[in-house]
Amino acid sequence: MLEVKNLHAWIEGKEILKGLNLTVKPGEVHAIMGPNGSGKSTFSQILAGRDFYHIPEGEVLYEGRDLLELSPEVRAREGIFMAFQYPVEIAGVTNAYFLKAALNAIRRHRGEPEVDAFDFLEMIQDKMALVQMDDTLLKRSVNEGFSGGEKKRNEIFHMAVLDPKLAILDETDSGLDIDALRIVADGVNSMRDPERSFIVITHYQRLLSYIVPDFVHVLVDGEIVQSGGKELALELEERGYAWLVKHPADENHSEPVPDQV
């Protein structure tokens, strides 16, 4: 489904990803963990189509196609979804209607008939129940005035409605209390199936007790330094990241800084 090969990414003259490799097969759940500043969010942003990174080297294949060539909207229509770490508040755009427009853009792309407001409201009922979405949050502007937990639940709700093939959860657990975390995790778990893959990006092991991954990767300083099964997350919880961080003496391989990106 997704193949990331030797991905290098720069921003403002600084190399953030330094040769990242990752293969995700259909149905798999991959967790990417790592300390702050290791490049986790950069990686998710690049997958979703953020264009302010310079990528001099490496490739990302999604279902055999060059993902980096595609605009964010085409990626979404092709089945990629990213749950934002900081969902954006958009005053004046109604949450439900925006989601309907997004769903129809995706359906058009897939050659499926569009849904009208009535059908839409009917088909989202069980998705709302899934994340315990309040009706009022549908009618409000996208994320405007939502609490931290409501924003994250809204992201999972969007994901459930848009039905992606590959979902990237970017620190979805940050700022969630234990109840909200459970709701979000239940939502994700109910969507697990043999065709759908997840990349779960998180700083803490906590989320992974609820969304149990097939693989855990540790991203440190722009590279995956360790991969393993779900038990690796527990080990990290116990030992922290320090044992995986390279010693300063090893850091003499820094590459020349390219011109303005």
Partner: protein
């Protein structure tokens, strides 16, 4: 005190000649008060000329091109266009007064059965048939001493709308005033003069629409005076869709009595050069005035709003929201003054001007001002100029919405704060339709709203 370039006799000459020609054709039996008003206005114009950018109120508004364009009035209505061909808006209404090039077009107008003692018609007739009702108010509210365009309008008073509603009268259906420029080879001018007087505890909705052919150079220079009696409720809309080569230099003043409630919302879409001088005097305890505006210039369009709200009595509330969306190398000016007089304790006044720049070449001058001489007041003002939120754009796109669609959606969302405040639904629907047609891939808005 204008600079020689705009005040010089070379510039003023053609305007004064036009006035002399105009005055020579005025009826001999014109009421003395009106003749005096004209004389004062033209004398003031002769003395002050056009404003130069040295004047504070015109600092960012260079009108020298307008001053030098030979705009001439069209001597009589030459009706060659049907309103439906030109005006994008049409409503079910109680009455519609249509003006072609400033002249009342009776055959295109319709007036329903009016409540007893209510008067709706053209000003030219009202000056003759209801001289007292007219003279009590005409020229009493819009100051022309410092505004050459209000002075010209006053000097050239000939026709416009006249509405006089007695006390305790509710006008259920709105009144539409439609000003059309019909299109001539040479630059034309029209000076619509509107007087709206609403009695105690009466209610009315009024829509002023200005439109003209897509191309053509013309000057529309209207003055609208609105008087709200005690407890009166007025909803007023001004919608401007003129040619991008036209100049629209408008003045409007609202006088509010005790406990009256006026909402006036302006939409400026057309006009190469638009100036709206909007004033309100809250002159009775408990008066409540809302002034909102939306402007959407593109190309090289210029839009200027000068707002002045005078709180002269205690316990009044005023609210202003002006939103601008600027494309290409469009320019906009906003200057809003809230003046709280010493007597006006317990004033509540809010003003905000928000601008969205869609191009690097677009430019906004925004200047909110407060002048407060009372100590127990609650006043806020704010002004913002920003670009489309890139985070929001990316968020929308990451959910499958195309880039152009996402932009249009965010632009519409920016305007929606204004749109949502429109109470009268036909105006609201027309505005929605206009924006959907105007924005690229606007269909997304219908989908997403």
């Amino acid at each position: 005190m204008g600079l020689p370039d705009v005040a010089s006799s070379v510039i003023l000459g053609p305007w004064l000649d036009e006035y002399i020609e105009f005055a020579s054709r005025l009826p001999q039996n014109e009421p003395a008060a009106l003749a005096q008003l004209r004389n004062r206005a033209i004398a003031g114009f002769r003395e002050n000329g056009f404003p130069s950018t040295a004047l504070e109120a015109w600092r960012s508004t260079d009108i020298s091109e307008i001053a030098q364009t030979p705009y001439r009035r069209v001597p009589s209505a030459s009706v060659n266009t049907s309103p439906v061909d030109v005006v994008p808006f049409s409503y079910v209404m109680c009455g519609e007064l249509v003006f072609f090039d400033g002249h009342y077009a009776q055959s295109f107008s319709s007036i329903c059965d009016l409540p007893e003692d209510a008067v709706l018609g053209n000003l030219r007739d009202a000056i003759r048939t209801d001289p007292d009702k007219v003279q009590t108010h005409l020229g009493g509210y819009v100051p022309f001493e410092e505004n050459a365009f209000a002075a010209l309008n006053t000097a050239f008073i000939k026709d416009g709308a006249f509405l006089h509603i007695p006390r305790d009268t509710v006008m259920k259906e709105p009144i539409h005033l439609l000003y059309l420029t019909t299109g001539h080879e040479n630059p034309t001018a029209s000076y619509p003069r509107n007087l709206i007087v609403v009695g105690e505890n009466s209610q009315v909705t009024i829509i002023e629409s200005y439109a003209g052919p897509e191309h053509g150079s013309y000057l529309t220079c209207p003055v609208t005076e609105i008087v709200a009696g005690e407890g009166a409720e007025i909803e007023h809309y001004k919608i401007q869709h003129e040619s991008a080569e036209a100049a629209h230099m408008a003045s409007q003043h609202i006088y509010l009595s005790r406990k009256s409630h006026v909402v006036s919302q302006s939409m400026s879409f057309g006009g190469g050069y638009t100036r709206n001088d909007i004033g309100a005097t809250l002159n009775g305890e408990g008066a409540d005035c809302t002034l909102n505006g939306l402007y959407l210039p593109s190309g090289t369009q210029f839009v200027d709003h000068h707002i002045s709200v005078e709180h002269t009595r205690p316990g009044c509330r005023s609210f202003q929201l002006f939103k601008g969306i600027l494309e290409d190398s469009a320019r906009a000016v906003f200057n809003g003054l809230i003046h709280v007089h010493p007597d006006a304790q317990q004033t509540s006044a809010d003003q905000s001007n928000r601008n969205l720049l869609l191009s690097r070449d677009a430019l906004v001058h925004s200047q909110p001002q407060l002048l407060i001489f009372a100590d127990d007041v609650k006043c806020t003002h704010g002004s913002t100029v920003g670009e489309l939120d890139q985070e929001a754009l990316f968020y929308l796109r990451s959910r499958g919405i195309g880039e152009e669609e996402a932009r249009s959606l965010l632009i519409y969302a920016f305007a929606s704060e204004f749109i949502e405040r429109i109470e009268f639904s036909p105006v609201k629907k027309d505005l929605e339709k206009f924006l959907i047609n105007r924005l690229p891939h606007g269909e997304i808005i219908r989908q997403a709203m």
